[in-house]
Structure formats: C-alpha cells, structure tokens
C-alpha cells in the first residue's frame, strides 16, 4: 500500500448559502485545487447525504466534475449518512494507496437550509431504523436526548457539562471565519441567569437549544495524492496516516450497553493501529459534536480519557485550546456548523490547517498529529482518521 498525502484543502463559509448545491461543492473544490496548484485530477468523490431528497438533484459528482472542467476524471458520489465525508476520504485514500489513482479530489457538500427546520430534521431522521425507530417518530435530537439521560445517570454528566461544551465550541467558532455561528455565548446567558430558560429552552430534555449544532449549508474539499506527487508541491507534507471505519447495530436499543459507542472505539483503534500511533500522541482532534454529549462520549471512546471521565477532563480545561488535547478548536459541528455531507471533509480541512500551522488565533502550538472522528447514524457507522505532519 502506498502512503497518501494531502496536497490541497478548500472550504466555503458554513451558513445559509443561496447557491446551487453543485456550485457550493465546486467552490470548495476550486479552492482546494488552487491550494494544491493543480488543474487535473484522476478521480473525484463527492460526499453528500440529501441531494436527491432535499435539493432534487442526483448524480452530483458528474455535475461537479463538469462544473470544474475536470473531465474525463472518474467521478462518484458517496452517500453514507453523516459519515459521508469520512467515507469519501476513505475511498480517496484507497484509490491512491492502491496505486489506482495518483490525484483524488474529495469534496463534501450539503445544502439543508433550502428546506424548513422540520423537513431538515425529518430528512436526517431517515437514517434511523425504518421499522424500529423512524415510524415511531424518533429523530436525532430524540436519540441524543435518550443517550444523554443514560450517560448522566451512569457517569454523572450534568447539564452544566453539556453547556460547557456548547460554550467552548461556539466561542471557538468566533476564531474561525468560515464558521456558521458567529455569536458568542456564556454559561450565565444559557444556564445560570433568570433568562436562561427562555434563551436556551429544552428541545429534547435534557438537551437544550444550545446543545445542538445548527442546520447549515456548506462545502469542503481535500486533495489526496501519492508521495511522489506530494513532494512536487514543496510545502509541509501532511500524511493521511490512519483510516478506520466500523459499524454498530442500526437501531440503538439493540446494543447491549447503549452508552458504549463501539463503532467509535473500533474505528479509532483501527486508525491508530494503521498509523502506529496512540491516542496520547494526538495534538489536536475534531470530534463529531452534533450534540454536546457526543464530544464527551467520543473523547472517551477514542481513548483520550478513560470511560466516564470525559466530563472531568472538560472541567479541567483539558479539551480547550491550550489544554492537554484540544478538541474542536475550529468550533466543531456545534460552532462551525453541520452540513452533514461536508462535515467529515471539513474536519479533515481543520486538522490539515492546524498541522500546516495556519490556524491563526485558534492554532494549537506545535501540532504535528491530528485526529478526526466522523460519526454517522447514531453511532452505527463511524470513520476515524489520523493525520501527521512530516518534517
């Protein structure tokens, strides 16, 4: 298997974007191509979850290739729920590592604000089990709320811990010009003041408004190349050193212990094993905080902290910028936004930005190993990646 490197990255602002879906993907891709200084690729993968349903568009990869004049490159769209981005990067990795392709463009895109909030929630809920969950009205906020309640009972996580994650990540987004949420929040404003219950009402108890990520539009792109190609670019070599993917039962109630995210555990373990790294080697991480509880739970499952102690590390500031293992310094899904198909690629974009030392105000000093966890379904399809900066 050949080594795989990142040659270029691109992103759009995550917000409400009033452009066609393929234009959003193309814009991010164009930035990545410009970043890499190339105009030709062998293969394009476009990660997306909802184009046929939400945007009435199919064959998205063909549209992107044509829009960017990248024909006759191979092109395919990859739909794998919220893990579509990570899955597309994995496909790009396989294409380069196998020797089949030398240059692969991976784009992720979603335009969810074209429909109203209820329709967007329903569209995301289609990833649940059709017979055991969806028909009973289970949505992702409902899943996350039940999971949170169990986690609180078992490990002593409180609403304050959840709010701390929300404040940390939404305020981190203020240092990321591409992030969706550009309004800071405070514990006093969302938890401790007489106005807090109105400012931050329950959406699915015990989860409140500021415990959930926003519904966003946006695109991100990354270009993967072989080692030979990478050396032509003359910039810091960022290696995609580990890839892990794992699944769990489709319906959450079938899991022996619902608070264990076994797919996260296995995907992370596989990625670390492939890279020859341990969780303790990681300098900066992007975890899939679609709901605040997920950052805490994933930080344990990937091995940064012992099970049940993620919230204690949070209290100590270990997951903040300047802490032991800074998590979601670009805002995470909570602050940057969560255009589902783009998220896994945007996580990689942030890590590569950090490893290049281009993080600006949010830069993790001396970061040389980065990690992403792209969490699909409710933990039933997870992709984890490790990135390393080479001298």
């Amino acid at each position: 298997m050949r080594d795989v490197y990142v040659a270029g990255i691109g992103i759009t602002t995550f917000t409400r974007l009033e452009f066609a879906l393929s234009e959003i993907a193309s814009y991010a891709s164009m930035m990545a191509l410009k970043d890499a200084g190339i105009t030709e690729v062998d293969q394009v993968y476009v990660a997306n979850m909802g184009a046929p349903r939400v945007n009435h568009q199919t064959a998205l990869a063909s549209a992107v290739v044509d829009s960017l004049s990248l024909t006759p490159a191979g092109a395919a769209a990859i739909e794998n729920g919220p893990a579509s981005g990570g899955s597309a990067i994995k496909a790009g990795f396989q294409a380069v590592a196998s020797g089949m392709d030398d240059v692969v463009l991976v784009a992720g895109v979603e335009r969810m604000r074209e429909v109203n909030g209820l329709e967007a929630t329903d569209f995301i809920a289609t990833l649940t089990h059709p017979i055991a969950e969806y028909i009973y009205g289970v949505t992702l906020p409902a899943h996350a709320a039940m999971f949170t309640r169990l986690y609180m009972d078992k490990y002593g996580v409180t609403e304050r811990h959840l709010a701390m994650v929300g404040v940390k990540n939404q305020n981190a987004a203020l240092k990321n010009e591409w992030a969706h949420l550009q309004q800071g929040i405070s514990l006093e404003g969302i938890l401790d003041s007489p106005e807090a219950m109105t400012n931050n009402p329950y959406v699915a108890e015990p989860l409140r408004f500021f415990d959930a990520c926003p519904v966003s539009d946006g695109g991100a792109a990354i270009i993967l190349v072989s080692e030979e190609k990478a050396k032509e670019f003359g910039r810091p070599l960022i290696k995609l050193s580990g890839v892990g993917q794992a699944t769990d039962t489709h319906s959450v109630h079938e899991r022996e212990e619902p608070t264990d995210l076994l797919a996260v555990r296995k995907a992370a373990g596989d990625a670390f094993a492939m890279a020859g790294l341990t969780p303790q080697d990681v300098d900066v991480a992007e975890l899939h905080d679609a709901f605040t509880i997920l950052e805490i739970a994933e930080s344990e499952e990937v091995g940064f902290f012992p099970k049940g102690e993620g919230h204690i590390a949070l209290e100590k500031g270990e997951t903040a910028l300047g802490g032991k293992i800074p998590i979601n310094v670009g805002g995470g899904l909570k602050g940057r936004g969560h255009p589902v198909g783009a998220t896994g690629v945007a996580q990689a974009w942030e890590i590569v930005t950090q490893l290049r030392g281009d993080g600006g105000e949010r830069q993790v000093e001396g970061a040389s190993v980065g990690f992403t966890c792209n969490f699909g379904g409710f933990g039933n399809n997870v992709v984890c990646l490790t990135f390393e900066k080479e001298a």
């Binding site: 009033e18 109203n116 329709e119 404003g189």
Partner: protein
C-alpha cells in the same frame, strides 16, 4: 383671522402610561436594555433603519420601509398614539418595536425590527411590547400581523394567537390575529423575561447615544435570494398544518 393648520393636522394624544425600562441577559451574557425612545431620539433610529430598506431578504426591505414611515410620521406628529421601544446592547441598537393604542382597551402591534440577528433579540423585544400593552396600558387584547415567515412563527405560533380575520389590520389591511390577556399570561413564564430596575450604569449607557448596530443584516449576495426567502425556511407551513390538525381534533 388666521388658522393654525398644524393644530388641526396633529393628532390629539391619548394619555398613555410610561414604559418602565428593563434589562435582560442574552445567551451571550450581554445585557440588553429595553426602553422607550423619546421623540427627539427618532432621527437617530431613522439613520440606522434606512440601510435596511435595501436588504432584500426575509422581508427586511418591506418591514424597514414601513418602520421608517411610522417613525418619521411619529416624529412629525402625524401618527395617533404610537409608542416606540428600543433594545440596546452596550449602546448599540439591536431592535426596534412599536405599536399604538387604538382604544383604552385595544392595542395594535406595528413592527418588530431586529437590527442584530440571533440570540432571540427580536423575540425579547416583541415580548416587551406585549408586556407594555397588557401591564402598563391595560389593554384586553392586541391586534397583530406578520410580514415574514419568521415573524409568523415567533408571534402566531409561539403565542398561539387567536384569529380576528374579520378585522383588517392597519398594516396593509390584511386579516388580524389577536393576543389576548389570557394567551399572554399563559406565555409569560416561558417567553417573557426582564429585570427591573435597570442598573443606572446600564441605563445611562443606553441613553447616552443610540449607536449603530455593528453587525446589521446585509443585502443578499445572490439576487435570487429575495425570491428564495419566500420558500419559507422557518417551518411555518408545516406548523400551521399541524395546528389546523390539532384544532380539528379538538373540535371533534
């Protein structure tokens, strides 16, 4: 014999109770002050409203045009019994709400214009003016309409307004909705916030100057956005549908 035409043209104001200022903490932790705006402060508001006339998204252009006309005519004594409240954060203008008294028992809501988006600033401002109608002016109900889907969700849906479709609203003659005292009391605990009195340093800062909003709504980059905003990104249609179903169930 000379005639003082101005005297004839000016409305005779009703005796309206003053609005007692209040403040609340936003989700950001910033203190927002809600206070009545004096007539001589209206030109300051006009300066900050004018740019929004050109923001063709979410009906900002329609609402700002009407607010501008209402404020100007209030300033020039051509509006009957209008009041104007401003929301300020650290002196910056964050929202304007206005309305008027129709009779001693009936209020009429004119507009809610958020010059800073997010953090429920518009929602807090609307709640404050309804509080003024019921608690200070003693109205039994307030007639309301919405020009944007966002407004419809915030007022008609969140407060569960009653239909008064037989009464054309003064804003465009469209059918009215009504917030009754009973409905308002039911919403108080979840939607109405604020503390009194306002600490002097916060109130003084607000009165010192009405500063322009530092991050006001801006025109859309894409000229089609004005059209697209009519697609209703706020779930109004579905919520109304559900509401109608619930009513049908109750009626049955």
């Amino acid at each position: 014999m000379s005639v003082d035409l101005e005297k004839i043209l000016r409305p005779t104001p009703a005796d309206m109770a003053p609005y007692e200022p209040k403040y609340m903490l936003l989700a950001s932790g910033e203190a927002a002050v809600v206070r009545a705006v004096d007539r001589d402060e209206i030109p300051d508001l006009l300066k900050h409203v004018e740019p929004l006339l050109h923001v063709e998204r979410d009906y900002y252009d329609v609402v700002a045009s009407r607010v501008y006309a209402e404020l100007l005519s209030h300033y020039q004594y051509r509006f009957q019994d209008q009041y104007v409240l401003a929301v300020q954060v650290d002196g910056e203008l964050a929202a304007i709400v206005n309305g008027r008294q129709v009779t001693p028992n009936l209020g009429l809501s004119l507009h809610t214009l958020a010059l800073r988006r997010g953090l429920r600033i518009g929602a807090h401002a609307f709640a404050a003016k309804m509080e003024y109608h019921f608690d200070a002016l003693g109205h039994d109900e307030v007639l309301i309409v919405a020009e944007s889907p966002i407004g419809f969700r915030r007022w008609m849906i969140e407060y569960k307004l009653e239909k008064r479709f037989e009464v054309p609203h003064e804003l465009g003659g469209v059918p009215s909705w009504a917030l009754t005292r009973e409905l308002f009391d039911a919403a108080r605990s979840s939607l109405v916030v604020g503390r009194r009195p306002v600490p002097p340093e916060i109130l003084d800062k607000a009165k010192e100057a009405i500063l322009p909003p530092s991050d006001p709504p801006t025109p859309a980059l894409d000229p089609l956005s004005a059209t697209r905003s009519k697609y209703d990104p706020t779930a109004t249609a579905l919520m109304v549908e559900r509401w109608a179903m619930e009513e049908g169930i109750q009626d049955a």
